[in-house]
Each structure stands twice: as structure tokens, then as C-alpha cells.
Amino acid sequence: MLKPESYTAGELLSILSARQLKDGQVVFAGVGIPLLAATLAQRLRCPGLTILFEGGVIGAFIEPGRLPPSTNDQRCTRRANMVLGSADVLLLLQRGYVDVGFMGAAQIDQYGNLNSSVIGDPDHPTTRLPGSGGGNDISSLTEMIVAIKHEKRRFVENVDFITSPGWVHGQDSRRRGGLPTGGMYRVITDLAVFGFDDNTHRMKPIALNPGVTREQVQDNTGFKLEFDHTTGVTEPPTEHELTVLRELDPERLYIG
């Protein structure tokens, strides 16, 4: 069994994220870890996994060692079944053809809301971040899986700015806000895997990553987490998972 020191945080994130996907699903994947993890799942267990990219791509097979610098580059179209307009691929989410949206994030809060727009006051931001891209559309229109590095400054009680809505203010506030479908489903970090309470829609730990303690997770989280007897422990990455992953990203662009 592999020890934590034998893989990086990026590698763990990619592998645990890949495990969340099921064969036959239609997955809308963002650039970076999501693209890498979806491609990994495709090669490991899900040959029938259909990957969609924001640039306008359906069913691509990314070539090992030629990871695209964004989901709008021609490398994303390799062996695709179809390419289409970037607005049209997002409309597939609105119509309902997509099972899972899969993204990274800069900042997340207790209700799974994501901020990639501004740190501080939106009128006078201390930091202007790149913005939504398709993030707002994806998280508004389908079930979401988010992969994110676990740091206190990234796991805040309430994000400064809701770019991509999770469960908004909890309870049924998402639906009341005009989003009757989708919602945050899983959050994968280098410390643990999280779900959301069916009623309050607050984030709750499902399983700790191998070798990680509850204290570690709580210490790196800006809001109170409820651990209980159902909180399990995740199986460590296997040799095979690591080998295939490292073939995909030999330049270690995303796995660090």
C-alpha cells in the first residue's frame, strides 16, 4: 500500500476526483485537475465516459503528454465526436444533457459556493480574479464536483463573492434564487472528501484521505465541520492509478 510521501497533493486530488466519475456519464470538465482527472477515469475504468469542454467539444480523448493549456485549445478536440459553438456546448447543460460538472476553484464556502471573481469589496477589490468563465453556468445548471487544494484561506465560512452558486445560503435558497436543478455534490481536497447535508446543505466530511486526522482537516477549514461515525477513510492511490496519471502529465503541468 502506497505511503502519502509517494505521491503529491496534485496527484492525490486527481486520483480521488477520477474515482468520483462513473462509466457512461456525460461530464463537463474544467481545465487543470478536472480535465486531467476525467481523462484518467476514461483510461482507468470509464471508456464510455463522455467529456465536454467549454471551448465546444464533445467526447474528446486527450493525448498523453499533450495536455491543452486551456479548454478552448485545439488539443481539446483530439478524437472528439463533435465540436460546436462555445455557447452551444453550455446550452447542453441548460437543456439537461450533462450528468456532472467538474471544476477547480480558488475559494469555497460552507454551502459550496465558489468565488473566482474578487477578493474584498467588489467595488474596490483587493484582488480582481479572472472571473466566472463557464463556472457560473455549469454550477447553475448541473450537479457539481469540485477539486480544490485544502487551505484555510480557500475554505471560508462565506465567500466574498458568489461567482458559481453552490447551495447559496443553504436550505432551499438555491431553488428560491431561480436554480431548480443541480447543486454542489462533492468537494475533493488533498485532505478529505466532502458532501452536503440533505436539509441544511452545509458541507460535511464523508471520508478522510489516507493518513489525515480530523484535527488537520478542521485546522485547515475556516468553518466548523461535523465529523461523526459515518466519516470514513479513503483508499490510497494505487500504483496503477499513479502510473497512468503520470503518463498523462509527464511535464507535471497539473500534478505538481
Binding site: G55, P69, S70, S86, N136, I162
Partner: protein
Amino acid sequence: MSMVQSYSSLRKDLAQRDRSLREKVVSLEEAASFVRDEDSVGIGGSTMSRTPMGLIWALIRARRRKLSCSRSIVSSDGDLLFGSGACDHMVTSWFSQGILWGVSKVMRHHVETGKARYDEWSHMAMGMRFRAGAMGVPFMPIRSMLGSDVLRRRPDAVEMECPFTHEKLLLVPALNPDVALIHVQRCDAYGNAQIDGLPFIDVDLAMAANKVILSTERIVSNDQIRRAPDQTKIPFFAVDAVVELPFGCAPHECYGVYEPMIRHMEYYVDLVNKDPVAGMKQYLDRFVYGPKSWTEFLDLIGLEQLLASARAGTAIYDA
């Protein structure tokens, strides 16, 4: 709301355009003269793909000012427009050089100091705004942005109750730019344009804009276009000027022709993210104002990089 052009003024603008079958080939410098200070400018492609970099380069050299630009996703093209002072207002869904390089210090510098404005919409909302403009209607209904702070910052989008289903919907206003800048793989002298690979929002942008400037890797005969009319994506009567500009997206990519010139991009990002003011000035002086021509600019990127990206670009067809 005044941000949407009234139908009568939209029709008047279009009625005044010469839509006859005529040759429109101009030089890169002439093309720049189609854009005036304070114009709203729609930019084709997305991130580092099919970006009309040559046309943007020419606008900066022509010292355009106060442009209000819009694009689905903005990369270093936005940096240069802000950094050169050509543009002080960007309407988009995402603005940085590229995910590989973190957050653009140039974008941050201009937005955080209030030198320039960045209006954020969702990616789909941007597309639907161009589509409404292309269809000649004042809005499109969508189901995203609702319940988010992205919407809270955009009072110019209107929530409505659907008269059919009584559900909540968002109406996003049509976007009809004064001018569109679009790069394609090939078109004829009339402007009939064919696009390979990822089309992004370019067709809607072209039909929405009140003026369209095309740059193209090569100009082909009208006969070649007419042999495959189902490959034509933009009709000639929507186009006002055509510029033949090989490597017209450099250092970005053009599907099936060349991939991004990553070494040049890394050099650029390193320079401007170290110092968004001095670094930008240095880049503009050397790569934008310095060269006598687009070919001279390409020469500064270097033949070796051009050939390597061209090799990678055509490789998409080997799969």
C-alpha cells in the same frame, strides 16, 4: 435600457451598409481605420484560440483610444488592449493570460486601480448576448447567473416570470458591437468565410456587429467557396473588410494551422507579471510599436517557433 440598440436604429445602421457582392481586400493598416475611438469592439475566438491578434496589434499601433471591448474569454489580447491604453472597458466572462500563469497582473493593475473597467458576465450569457444581437431581438432568456453575485453586479440583466411556465428566467440584453474583429482559416475576396474546428461565438458575433473586419490565413477563390457552400459560416454581406494575414493569431493559435507559440507567451507573461507597467511598455515598444510590419513582428517571435507551432497545429489532423 439604453444599453440595447433600438430595432429601428439597428435596422438603419444595417440598411446603410453596402451589402452588394464586391471585393473588400484591404491592408492591415487600412483595416485598422475601420475602427474609431470609443467604438464598441467585439473580438472573435476564445482565450488563446483564433484570436485576431494581428488586427488588435494594428489597432494599438494606430493609437486607438477608449475602445469598449467584448469577448467570451479574454487572454493576453486583453492585457495588450488595457496596457496600451487602447481600451478602458472589457466585457467578458474570464480575463487572464491563461490558467497556466495564474492571474494577469496587467488586468489586476488596471482594474484594481480603477484605470479600466471589467464587466463580468457568465460565459453562456456572453454567447446569448451576441446571439440575441445576431437574431435582431433585444434579449435572450437564460437560466444561469440567477442567485449569484455575478448577476447582482449586472443590473442591466432583467429577471422575469415566464408567461408560459411561471418560472423565474433571466433576460440578457443583446450585444451589437460597432465593429467585430474575427480571424478565419480562409475566406474569399468578398468575405465569404469558412472556419475549421472550434467555431466559438464568431458566427453570432459577425451577424450581430454593425461592421465586420476579417483577417484570414489565406484568401481563396469564390469558386472554391461555392464548391462547398455548407462549409461557409459567415456570409459576404455581413463583412466589410478582408485582410490576408498569415499567422494572424500569433502568438495565439489558429485551429489546424498552428498551436500557440508558448515560449513567446511565457516570455511575455514573465515580463508583464513582474512589472505590469514597465514590463508592458517594454513589450509594446519591442513587439508592437517597433516592427515595421506584421511579418517583422513574426520574425521577432522567430521562425523556429513559427515552424514548431505550425507542425503541432496541423498534427490535429493526424489523430
